[in-house]
């Protein structure tokens, strides 16, 4: 085993660190978070440096690197500012469906603009009122000539109203007994007629990106927009979730690390009762807990990312990682606020939005109970 980053990984990490030092500005971050505006210039800068889509093949402007390197970037970005980090990393939300399952033509058409920062993507999976259950979709794609026509509604789609293209999970076979034959995945260009978006408004976190409920009304797409093969949608979406959950874990680790460092700075300078907060024994115990959780969450996240790049990541480890990292981020950011006292509740001290973004990740792509079901299914099999 080897728990050290290699030279190029360290360089990537340092490059991102320098980037955030130079480009992330506290007040700008607070403003954008509050106004729900996107950091377009910062994205452009990140793209120039190749931080976006680093796991894409070189011909699509990537660096042919793995989820591991993508995680290093996500961690460092979120460490400096949780919301800016989320905004940069989730601009291409869903693009991995094209990367992993798409045709060369699809990759060429859709990955390149994502890596350039010229196009947002949006994974449109969830549907209103059926929680996080993807086994049956109300959204349907019906054969229409050699193409397809899509009808249905997807809820809370990140980048819903700014996406250059959507990854839409549709039911293509109502007769299929099991989910793994029932669904298919499609690319839908954002400007295709029949798409209407209803903005969700402000959310708990990730507020520099918009979210919308997206309705597809007789939206026609060509046969070339089917990702992979018909009926592969369910296995594709689950495979995508494995990768996404590890990436979310890396962001959670970065968020925890960032809030932890802010809290450390604060307790070293803040005095109460004539001594520094850092010198109270209860602070010691809090700090020890925070450090421990960050340590094992990061180590596990790296392992999961490495395992994915080796082609061996299963849903169980992915969900264990997401659950563990999100829990750690919640506990650490919670204590960071508590250590700040009243200031922790104040927007300008930043830790409160780290806490909100941590909870966003905790709830995004399946909350704890969903993760536990996924983990248990890999261990004891289908629930009767």
């Amino acid at each position: 085993m080897d728990f050290a980053l290699d030279k190029s990984q360290k360089e990537i990490q340092k490059a991102v660190r320098d980037f955030t030092k130079g480009e992330f500005d506290k007040d700008l971050g607070l403003d954008l978070e509050k106004e729900g505006k996107y950091p377009a210039d910062i994205l452009a800068g990140a793209c120039d440096l190749g931080f976006i889509g680093i796991h894409f093949p070189e011909k699509y402007l990537g660096a042919d690197l793995g989820l591991f390197e993508n995680c290093l970037i996500a961690e460092e970005l979120c460490r400096k500012d949780s919301t800016l980090g989320l905004a940069l990393m989730m601009a291409g939300y869903g693009a991995e469906c094209v990367l992993r399952f798409g045709s060369d033509g699809q990759k060429d058409q859709y990955l390149t603009p994502v890596a350039e920062g010229k196009m947002f993507s949006a994974a449109a999976f969830m549907e209103p009122g059926q929680a996080f259950d993807m086994r049956v979709m109300q959204t349907t794609a019906a054969k229409d000539g050699d193409g397809w026509v899509i009808n249905g509604k997807k809820s809370m789609v990140l980048n819903g109203n700014s996406a250059g293209f959507y990854i839409v999970l549709c039911q293509t076979d109502d007769t299929a007994a099991t989910p793994d034959k029932r669904l298919s995945m499609f690319i839908v260009d954002g400007d295709t007629p029949g798409i209407t978006c209803e903005d969700v408004g402000r959310r708990i976190g990730c507020n520099m990106l918009s979210a919308a409920d997206v309705t597809f009304n007789n939206v026609k797409v060509g046969a070339d927009k089917l990702i992979g093969t018909e009926g592969a949608g369910y296995s594709q979406v689950n495979a995508y979730f494995n990768e996404l959950r590890v990436l979310l874990s890396a962001m959670a680790v970065g968020i925890a690390q960032g809030a932890y460092e802010k809290a450390l700075d604060y307790i070293k300078q803040r005095e109460q009762f004539g001594k520094k907060l850092a010198m109270f024994h209860i602070t010691w115990h809090k700090v020890a807990d925070m450090a421990a959780q960050i340590e094992y969450a990061r180590t596990l996240t790296y392992k999961a990312a490495w395992t994915f790049d080796k082609g061996k990541l299963d849903a169980g480890l992915a969900s264990i990682t997401k659950m563990t990292a999100a829990k750690a981020a919640m506990a650490v950011t919670y204590e960071a606020i508590q250590l700040y006292g009243g200031y922790g509740f104040m927007t300008e001290y930043e830790v409160e939005h780290f806490y909100r973004d941590a909870k966003f990740i905790d709830l995004f792509c399946g909350a704890i109970s969903v993760q536990k079901d996924v983990i248990a299914e890999t261990i004891v099999g289908k629930i009767k």
Partner: protein
């Protein structure tokens, strides 16, 4: 056994208030949250309907009702899922300073207005470098003839913008013992040298006008002192039991409201096979555990209210309750968010506001760490 005995009169009062909240508060809450303040007119309406200072003595214009009415106000306001119209703070935390320590003149002068809603009150204790450590207070009050001159600044002041009357804690710079140097003064809105600072942006409590207050050679008449000079600490201590009890009560009701929402969600939300979330044993047990903790919290809170109403000293127990109940709000509100999942990440899901607002409970009115320090001391550890 019923620990608390609500009479018919209590129930009628509750129903009147509930109806009032339905008609005049809940429809406006979203606007108030956006405005980051509640209009004074809303306070006035609360006063007109008799929902303010229910516990203040009748002879000074209060309603002279027992503390259960205060509990009812806290509960019904909690159900409006907003924090701006902070009647419990006004009626049961600030005004009691005037009731207990104000001179005859002061009581006659202010309590009627506090009851009608013409006077909104705030208490100004916390300073940027004196949070938990009240002794580190730097705001000074120096006597100058018949006047007292106040200098300094306060922060995190609830009702800071709306307040017509502020109870200010200030230090006598000439006193040597910092624990016998604090006095409480009444400063009216518009007093020269009293200015409001920034309206502070917060994670939650958006409809709540939390602000900084500045006092620059702010001159007030000597008579505006509450109680004896330099006895501020004792007065603050004496009032802590009720203040912390109010926090525990608010926390308890918030927990119950959150839980109701979670149960409703889990019973009505079904998976694609039509099975409701509440029938999934994993969720089912979580709901049961939350119901149990909420039930236990209710019993404990009611016992404390009963003891408090009997005039018993339960300072230690209220400190326990302040930290335990407000910690419970964190545990439950996070678990409720988990059960609802991604849908709970949108502000349109009202649960999110509760989650944001509640985060401050373990911090304000003395952080939960301070509560534990007090309990530890009182227990001779």
């Amino acid at each position: 056994m019923d620990i608390l005995n609500y009479t018919e009169a209590h129930q009628q009062f509750r129903m009147r208030l509930r109806e009032f909240c339905q008609k005049e508060i809940i429809p406006n809450v979203d606007q108030w949250e956006a405005d980051h303040i509640v209009p004074k007119s809303a306070w006035k309406r609360m006063g007109e309907e008799g929902f303010l200072c229910t516990n203040a003595p009748a002879e000074y214009g209060g309603h002279g009702l027992d503390f259960l009415y205060s509990v009812i106000v806290a509960e019904e306001l909690a159900r409006t899922n907003h924090t701006g119209l902070a009647a419990p703070l006004h009626s049961d935390i600030v005004v009691p300073y005037i009731v207990s320590y104000g001179s005859e003149e002061i009581k006659k002068k202010y309590i009627p207005g506090c009851t009608t809603g013409d006077i909104i009150t705030a208490v100004a204790m916390t300073e940027s470098d004196a949070g938990s450590d009240v002794a580190a207070m730097t705001t000074t009050a120096e006597e100058d003839g018949d006047m007292v001159v106040i200098n300094g600044s306060k922060t995190f002041i609830t009702n800071g913008i709306n307040a017509d009357l502020v109870v200010v804690a200030a230090k006598d710079p000439n006193a040597e013992n910092p624990h016998q140097a604090v006095s409480l003064y009444i400063v009216e809105d518009g007093t020269p040298g009293f200015t409001r600072g920034r309206h502070l942006e917060k994670m939650g409590f958006h409809s709540q006008d939390t602000a900084e207050l500045f006092f620059t050679n702010c001159r007030i008449p000597r008579e505006n002192i509450l109680g004896q000079k330099n006895m501020g600490f004792i007065m603050l201590m004496e009032k802590l039991q009720q203040e912390r009890l109010i926090c525990a009560i608010m926390a308890q009701f918030a927990v119950e409201l959150m839980l109701e929402a979670a149960i409703l969600y889990c019973q009505t939300t079904k998976d694609t096979t039509g099975k409701p979330m509440s029938k999934y044993q994993g969720m089912n047990f979580q709901l049961v555990e939350m119901m149990t903790e909420a039930h236990i919290g209710r019993v404990f809170m009611e016992k404390l209210v009963a003891d408090h109403m009997e005039g018993l000293s339960v300072v230690k127990e209220t400190c326990m309750a302040k930290y335990w109940h407000t910690d419970l709000t964190q545990k439950i509100s996070n678990q409720v968010m988990d059960l609802i999942g991604e849908e709970a990440t949108a502000e349109r899901s009202m649960i999110l506001r509760g989650w944001r607002d509640l985060r401050v409970l373990p911090i304000f009115a003395g952080t939960n760490e301070i509560m534990k320090m007090v309990v530890g001391k009182m227990s001779g550890l």
